[in-house]
Amino acid sequence: MRNGDSTHQEPQAIKASPPLRTEPLVEPSSTPYKELPKGPVGRSERRIDGPEKVLGTALYGADLFFGKADYFAQVVRSEKAHALIRSIETGDALRMPGVVAVYTAKDMPGTNRQGLIHRDHPVLAEDRVLYRGDGVAIVVAESERAVRRGRDAVKVLYEELPVVADFDDALAEDAPRLHPDGNIMGGKRIRKGDADAALSASDVIVSETFVTQTVDHAFLDIEAGIACWDGHLLTLHVSGQWAHEERRLTALALGLPMEAVRIITPATGGAFGGREDLSMQVYLGMVALKHPGKTIAMRYSREESMRARHKRHAMRIHYTIGAMRDGTLTAAKITVYSNEGAYASTGPAVLRKAASHATGPLRIPNVYVDVYGVYTNNNPTGAMRGFGACQMAIAYNGMMDRLAERLGMDRADLWKQNLIHSGDAVTTGQIIPIATAVECLDAALRQYRAKKQHDRPLAPHERRGWGISVICFGLGYGDGFPDASRATVRLTPAGRLEVYTGGVEYGQGLLNMAGQVAAEELGMPFSLVDVIWADTGRTQESGSSSATRQTYFTGNAVKIAASELREQVLDIASKLLPVHPHELDLHDGKAVGRFNPSLVVPMAKLIEEGRKRGYSLEASGIFKPRTVCEDFDTGQSPRSFITYLFGSHIAQVVVDMETGEVRVERYVACHDVGKAINPQSVAGQMIGGATQGIGMALMEEVVMDGGVMRNANFTDYILPTFRDVPTIETIILENDDPGGPFGARGIGEPPLIAATPAVLSAIGNAIGVAPHTTPCNPQRVWELLYPDDAQTPYAARLTTAPPHALLSK
């Protein structure tokens, strides 16, 4: 569905007044935060789900097995990247002691299809497998040991087909067709002004090709869950990011009415986009349907988790940018190829995000963008924190470094000259009423310069450098998608405040956000709040926990619901006190007279009275802002995203010129979050996101080789550890968003998006050659330093000239 919003008026260039804040309200530091003396909003309240997490009593998917599982199931996965299935022999497996059944696609009762955007992915392969990890059969047994043996005994006979290993294979003339429409999944374009003409009129043109890697989410809580079918209802306890959509997709694939499926999301150990596609829901559901009354359990190993799951898109970005001699940007021309892997997953949304964020917060009058998604026999690629926007941030930030070098300008000056201000438009033509990119950059620079530490002296083989990134991010799905959150709040007879949301908490702090907003609105102490979440049997749909949307969307839905409940409560109070509801306030668990503070009724009394008088003491809210579809031919839209977020990071690194090793020494992260509902949680997202971005810049990479993943384990897939992350100095700016709950915007993805380019920029500054390929691990640094001879030791090179000359192109 598209929201053709004909009544929408383009906002005039609104200049925010009073002047925007460039100073944080709280003193920058890593942790902890000083609190503002107000209600729960703006306070670092302890996590609602914290106690059970530190006690070890929180129940994650795999913790539900104990004493509950009747049968265990496991998936037989394809060992081939591209092949026809000739036969599946299950006889040996079925003869194994303890094995109960083996199922294949023909046993699937419904459509056997999954996929969030295109239903193109068979849950169990039918005649063909498209990646090494595609599900082929399911084995059911009485114990985990038996099910593993059974799985290993299933023999699948394949007829191998040529493997489409990457973009170039996929686009070759004689490439095997992976999908009926060919190997191009889709595309997205932006046409604004005349980029070609503007480029030829530019004083300076710089071109570069960036190559970004495939990244794994690597959340620690491996996929696991249980399911049971009682003849009427299929109950699934499996982690995801959007319980209601998981219910719809599972029901479709299994041929059940939606009402016959209930998803209950257990405690969830990280997601980062990696739980957006279905994981084992349909597998578990299918087995449960075949064995009514039995509880079925399934868990992946780390290897299966990595081999089965979608990944972050690897992209190849050809970027040309033009400028006048004074540094004014004139045009950008960008072509992006994106490795979609075997199935679409959320690829189309990632491509759209990449196109609309192709020039980030830069003011460029002429822009030409083509983004293509290309199918290959790799893992499907889809949602991951920063989807599409983070790859493009690597490119536009990299171009600014190159341009500054070419023009002989200071990087920060070049940035400031070209950043959008309030009232300017981004690439899609959307005018941003409050744009705080400059403020973020200024605050980060000020912090970096003011606290310039006594840097340790460098060894002769070391170089130090620092880098800047500036980013923006349009939150939510936007682009006309009918995106909405719903919430219900309720005052219980026991005097507690219950908040119901369909949103998933996987660590990001949704429960506190929702609870603190509701408590603020109702003047309740936070300690009396309970949040019930992501259970399709008890909560209403709140959209997915992704795209940095929950604070804005669910925060607003909760606020709308709570303010309605507030009216009820004030009404009850006015029956007990000799004043009009407008003369009352809710505060600290009491109704208090605004003009006469001696008029007080405690909440418990109000609830009791309300119940007696027939008040529902419950209210629901829906938040469904409209966005406008981007034009198909030009990518222009007056309001593609509901609001924008801005941020700027500064990284300082030391590069070992002999080994190519990079250490991040110092780090400043600044984001404008509108309002930090829970400052500690916001800082946690900033530091955690920046750490993932550092991982993407320096070490993380899924290595695919002819369709085979070479590092599907934590020994070979390198993640940032304690030693890899410096103290990250966080600066939280709070320029209210007029449409956000208490002015809040959100924070989830921008810290990751900004981090990778900041580190790359610092490496370029240190070694004099700007990186173009991620991760910039020691080998790649070495290749940058010594392109002709990666074997020559640095000492030998020193006798000639030190490597430098950023971008001689």
Partner: protein
Amino acid sequence: MATDSTTWQLRCTVNGRPIEAEVEPDETLLFFLRDKLGLTGTKGSCLEGECGSCTVIVDGRALNSCLVLCPQMQGRRIETIEGLANGDKLHVLQDKFLASGAAQCGYCTPGLIMAAKALLDQNPNPTEQEFFEGMEGNICRCTGYAAICEAIRSAVQQWK
């Protein structure tokens, strides 16, 4: 030593409670704690000694329970996250983790708390170097470690 069908008689203590159980010789301590004793606070993630999620304390030392087999636990004293709190009262590390926001998704938390406890039990005032050596085997994907360092540092001040 033992064939597949031979089971072992394991005696050990878990959180001070004597345990006697039949185990398979190739059963890991992680599996035993979680699936036999129901102590699911100890988490599994990489299952090959790389992430520290499964850290427990055995005779005072932090160990990755995914790497040790049950027969090696004969006569040992095992501590898990479930044994830390005293009734309603959180252990100081648990309290500080909560206060600093060191648990986001919380999946790494039990392992981190056990690793930190083993470290501080042996060395109540670790230098930065010793701190890293004690903790670097534990991975957290969510927090970026700052809040965890903060939590452990503030626990150090109250360590008895």
